[in-house]
Symmetry: C2
Subunit: 227 residues, 2 copies
Amino acid sequence: MIELQHIVKSYEVGGQPIYALRDTSESIQTGEYVAIVGPSGSGKSTLLNIIGCLLRPSEGSYLFNDEDVSQLDDQALSQLRQHQIGFIFQSFHLVPRLTALGNVALPMVFAGIPASERQRRAQEALGSVGLADRVHHRPNQLSVGQRQRVVIARAIIMQPSLLLADEPTGNLDTHSGQQIMELLESLNAKGLTMIVVTHDSHVARRANRVLVLGDGNIVKRIQGKDM
Amino acid sequence: MIELQHIVKSYEVGGQPIYALRDTSESIQTGEYVAIVGPSGSGKSTLLNIIGCLLRPSEGSYLFNDEDVSQLDDQALSQLRQHQIGFIFQSFHLVPRLTALGNVALPMVFAGIPASERQRRAQEALGSVGLADRVHHRPNQLSVGQRQRVVIARAIIMQPSLLLADEPTGNLDTHSGQQIMELLESLNAKGLTMIVVTHDSHVARRANRVLVLGDGNIVKRIQGKDM
Ligand SMILES: Nc1ncnc2c1ncn2[C@@H]1O[C@H](COP(=O)(O)OP(=O)(O)OP(=O)(O)O)[C@@H](O)[C@H]1O
Ligand SMILES: Nc1ncnc2c1ncn2[C@@H]1O[C@H](COP(=O)(O)OP(=O)(O)OP(=O)(O)O)[C@@H](O)[C@H]1O
Ligand SMILES: [Mg+2]
Ligand SMILES: [Mg+2]
């Protein structure tokens, strides 16, 4: 499903080059459950954003289902993201003036789904992440962990084929975090390809395999049976 | 240092009362190191924000160093926070157009400290959280864990007498998280009173004692020796 070849991502700050990712290559098969771990600043979010077509690499090629992503214009990329990819952002990106319900329903608005169906599905998704009694709260009327769960519900509402989760349990207590991972793993069991960036070793060890990043490189690959 | 009596914090959403904190009472002595744990949405950030004089309770009294906080106007509260309290926010609150250096220096600007001293101390503080090579980056040029570390450096730069940390290691890998907690504990050893909200049991068990929140109440108090 995902074929990365010699991906580089660099920036320039104060005239100096900064390498977020250096020559990264990896294949991820449909239906896999891959965890990405590594120190703060090692390039995990950068890698996930490139896979999610939210960031263009500086060098290298990315084939998504055998299609060369660099050949797609912004409109085509946006369509691809909308229909195929669910993204749980590390910094949320919720709409401040919409309620939890409105935020979760937003992808369905873009897909032209009628209002009554949107309401029903958003309500159900929020229930599945333990927020049934917070559906009418706006983001600033929610705890940070509750906002994170709204982001999770929004990411899975369109039943994407690829789920990219950047620290999905980072602001959750152990119990809530486990409930979330069980929910996501049940979706993976039904065929959802899942890539999870995490600092939590309990989350990482539930994946099929783990990519360990260090200073912009994949420094280690661990197979499920070796964890 | 901190005396909370029958603190209640409630909101109204859609005509319904929401209790973030219900009848909470606790004393915290100068120099203590207290952890606050509990499920997502249980009231931890609300409690910390009231202690930090960022949020006024709906009911109850709060004495900070024997002074009734409810009798202080906004100007006096702002002075108190500026000079005595360092706050590591769960959602950062960095200034987007300032660099890491500028963000860390901001409390010193308010205190009238001269530019050369601000530069030197901000540089040193960022070095102590592992960001020596990121000082000129703005928040959107930093990873989320790097932003969190800028927030930590900013919170300790004015050598406050009380440090309030809301999930200080939430976006950090285990190693970076340990380095941060060792830094904060070294300050506690020198007399800094510290209250840390955390979902990480490894962080919680390093405190003198732990308050366990549940649905807006302190449901359990654990002494250091019993952890
Ligand atoms: N402005 C508000 N209006 C209405 N309800 C609110 C508001 N702020 C917080 N709440 C509610 O108060 C409760 C406590 O929120 P708080 O942020 O203190 O939780 P928390 O323990 O810090 O959670 P987390 O671990 O997710 O950060 C939550 O259920 C939240 O929905
Ligand atoms: N726009 C940018 N300009 C310059 N440098 C950047 C930019 N975005 C990211 N970086 C740098 O690239 C590196 C990788 O960032 P990335 O966000 O991928 O890290 P991460 O592994 O997700 O970290 P964390 O665990 O803290 O979230 C970091 O050192 C960061 O400072
Ligand atoms: Mg990241
Ligand atoms: Mg909180």
